[in-house]
């Protein structure tokens, strides 16, 4: 899968990276990322996830081929 991060999340993870993951859901992926970088736990826990540019819930199933964007809280305006 490909992981894309933005804004403050780029302080913890690359902006775009290919990732091999055994996660079966978005929630499992989030837990994997927290293990990978525990200091990102707080921001990951309040971020939204999108698959192929559409927001999804944490229980969404994944198969490892998706493009997953991790979206921290918005701050436009």
């Amino acid at each position: 899968m490909k992981i894309k991060t933005y804004a403050v999340l780029k302080d913890y993870f690359p902006h775009q990276a290919d990732k091999v993951s055994s996660a079966k859901t978005i929630n499992e992926l989030r837990e994997e990322l927290i293990v990978e970088n525990p200091s990102a736990k707080a921001i990951l826990n309040i971020s939204r996830f999108a698959i192929d540019d559409t927001f999804v819930d944490l229980d969404m199933a994944i198969n490892g081929t998706e493009i997953i964007s991790i979206i921290p809280p918005s701050s436009g305006g």
Binding site: K4, Y6, A7, V8, I46, S47, R48, A50, D53, F55, D57, S69, I71, P72, P73, S74, S75, G76, G77
Partner: protein, 153 residues
């Protein structure tokens, strides 16, 4: 229509472009960069977006508002990249025959932009520090990062 742009927003030019003779009320929200934030002097802002997502979502927000308030004209644009003090970062124009709908629609659009659009500002301060903003803290109330305070009403 392009909703996300790295070019300066010319407010007066856009207000002229979006003159609407069907409207008796035109509400303009112009979000500008202020000099002070968090008690510190700001040098500039930098905006980043997940551009494809943001364009798609902005289009959906505009369509939703246009239908809900029967807008005769509507326009919104958000800047990305470096934005200097006093410059416009976001502009929303709503036009309707009467003011109530124009105000409501404008407020709706800017709140959606601030809470939901995948777009972020980073404040750069004169003391050399920077801070990524986080306008949306709705999850503290709703308990769900995908639900915002206005979804509860």
């Amino acid at each position: 229509m392009q909703y996300i742009s790295n070019k300066a927003i010319d407010v007066y030019d856009l207000m002229t472009q979006y003159r609407d003779d069907e409207a008796g009320a035109v509400v303009v929200f112009n979000g500008t960069v202020r000099r002070q934030s968090l008690g510190k002097e700001v040098t500039h802002l930098f905006y980043e977006a997940a551009e494809d997502m943001a364009e798609k979502m902005m289009s959906e927000i505009i369509t939703e508002a246009k239908d809900k308030w029967n807008l005769s004209s509507v326009f919104a644009i958000h800047r990305i990249g470096e934005v200097k003090i006093g410059e416009s970062a976001v502009l929303v124009i709503t036009a309707t025959p009467h003011r109530k709908e124009a105000y409501e629609a404008n407020r709706y659009i800017i709140e959606k932009i601030k809470h939901e659009l995948p777009l972020w500002k980073c404040e750069f301060f004169k003391d050399g520090t920077k801070k990524w903003g986080g306008n949306c803290n709705c999850h503290e109330v709703t308990g769900d990062v995908n639900k915002h305070v206005y979804d509860l009403t």
